[in-house]
C-alpha cells in the first residue's frame, strides 16, 4: 500500500470564468453590447429592463436572457414588448452561470442583436461569484430592501460597473434613506456611478437609458 499525493491545482470557480471569457469573445465578435442585471427579488430588474426596451427598442435590436429558478413570467413580460427572449431556468440554482448563458446564446441570432440584457436570478450573493461574459455588470437595490442592504452585501457592489438605487419614491413609506445607500455604495467603490431611480419619475428613468447609450457609444 502506497500513499500518494496528487497535485490537482484546479480552480473550480475559475472554470466558469473560462466559459464566460468565450461568451464575451463571441458577443464582442458579433457586436452585441451585453449587460448583466443583478439584484434581489422585487428590486425592479424586470421593470428597468422593460423601460429600456420601451425607450431604445426603436433604435436598437434588443434581446433578453431572463434568468429564473423555474417560472417564465419575466420572459413573457419581455416577449409582450416584442423582443426576442430566452428563458434560462436554473432549476435549483441561485444564479446564472456562464454555461447556462452559453446555451442561451445558441438560441439567439447574435448577428441581429445590438443590446442583450441578461436578467440574473434575484439575489445579491451568488451572482457575484459567476461572471457570464457581460460587458457591464449592473446591480439594482431598492429602498424597500432596507437602507442597510448595501453594507450587508458589499461584494456585489464592488464587482459592479453601475449601481442603481430604485423605488426612491417610496423611501419615506419604508423608512429608508436613499442618500445613505448611495453614500454606502460610494464608500465601497468610489469610482462606481450610482443612479437613484423610480419608475414614476421619468427624468430618473431617462438617466438610466442615457447610461446604457453612453456605454454603447464608448
Amino acid at each position: 500500500m502506497l500513499m500518494h499525493v496528487v497535485n490537482v491545482n484546479k480552480d473550480v470557480l475559475k472554470a466558469n470564468n473560462e466559459i464566460a471569457q468565450s461568451n464575451r469573445k463571441l458577443l464582442i465578435r458579433n457586436r452585441v453590447f451585453t449587460m448583466n442585471i443583478m439584484g434581489a427579488i422585487g428590486s425592479g430588474k424586470t421593470t428597468l429592463i422593460e423601460e429600456a426596451i420601451n425607450a431604445l427598442g426603436d433604435r436598437y435590436r434588443i434581446a433578453v436572457i431572463a434568468g429564473d429558478v423555474v417560472a417564465e413570467m419575466d420572459a413573457s413580460r419581455f416577449e409582450k414588448l416584442g423582443v426576442k427572449t430566452v428563458a434560462a431556468n436554473t432549476g435549483r440554482e441561485c444564479h446564472l452561470d456562464a454555461k447556462l448563458v452559453e446555451r442561451s446564446l445558441a438560441d439567439l441570432d447574435l448577428k441581429n442583436i445590438d443590446i442583450l440584457f441578461i436578467e440574473n436570478v434575484g439575489n445579491l450573493i451568488c451572482p457575484v461569484d459567476y461572471k457570464l461574459g457581460e460587458r457591464v455588470r449592473v446591480v439594482i437595490v431598492s429602498v424597500s430592501e432596507g437602507d442597510d442592504t448595501v453594507l450587508k452585501h458589499p461584494m456585489i457592489f464592488k464587482s459592479s460597473d453601475l449601481a442603481i438605487v430604485n423605488k426612491v419614491d417610496i423611501s419615506e413609506a419604508v423608512d429608508a434613506d436613499p442618500a445613505k445607500m448611495k453614500a454606502d455604495i460610494k464608500q465601497l467603490k468610489p469610482s462606481i456611478p450610482v443612479l437613484l431611480t423610480s419608475k414614476n419619475d421619468r427624468i430618473s428613468i431617462d438617466r438610466w437609458i442615457e447610461y446604457i447609450e453612453s456605454y454603447i457609444e464608448e
Binding site: 500500500m1 502506497l2 500518494h4 499525493v5 497535485n7 490537482v8 473550480v12 461569484d129 458589499p154 461584494m155
Partner: protein
C-alpha cells in the same frame, strides 16, 4: 447557496483523479478558498461528506486553507489585505471587513486583488 454544485464538481474531480491513479482509497483532499468568495466552508464540507458516501472518497479528510485577498493602492502599496487586529487567526474576516480595507500607508480604500478562488490543491490517495 451554490455549495452543492461546487461540491459536485470537486467530488467529480476527486473521483476522476483517484480512478486515473488506480487508487484504492482517498485519504484527504486539500482545498483553498479565497476570502472574497461567497462559499460557506461548513456547507461545502457537508455536501462533500454526503456525496462521498459509498464512494472511494468516503471518510476522506477535507483540509481547508483560507486565502486572504491581497490589496493594491494608488500610492504604490501592495500587500495582504490584512486581517484586522481584533480578529483572531482562526476567524475569517467578513466580506464587509475586506470590502472596506484601507491602505496601511495612506489610508485610501484598497483595491482588492485575488481572493476569488476555490482551488482543489492536492488529493492524498492510497494506491
Amino acid at each position: 447557496m451554490h455549495e452543492y454544485s461546487l461540491a459536485c464538481e470537486i467530488f467529480e474531480t476527486v473521483i476522476e483523479t483517484a480512478d486515473k491513479n488506480k487508487a484504492i482509497a482517498v485519504n484527504s483532499i486539500t482545498l483553498e478558498i479565497g476570502g472574497l468568495t461567497h462559499v460557506s466552508p461548513e456547507q461545502l464540507l457537508f455536501c462533500l461528506d454526503v456525496l462521498s458516501r459509498n464512494s472511494i472518497a468516503e471518510g476522506a479528510k477535507v483540509n481547508v486553507n483560507f486565502v486572504p485577498p491581497s490589496g493594491e493602492c494608488e500610492c504604490g502599496y501592495r500587500g495582504d489585505a490584512g486581517v484586522p487586529d481584533k480578529l483572531r487567526d482562526e476567524d475569517q474576516p467578513s466580506l464587509y471587513e475586506y470590502a472596506i480595507q484601507t491602505c496601511p500607508v495612506c489610508g485610501k480604500l484598497l483595491q482588492l486583488l485575488g481572493g476569488d478562488e476555490l482551488m482543489i490543491r492536492t488529493i492524498d490517495i492510497e494506491i
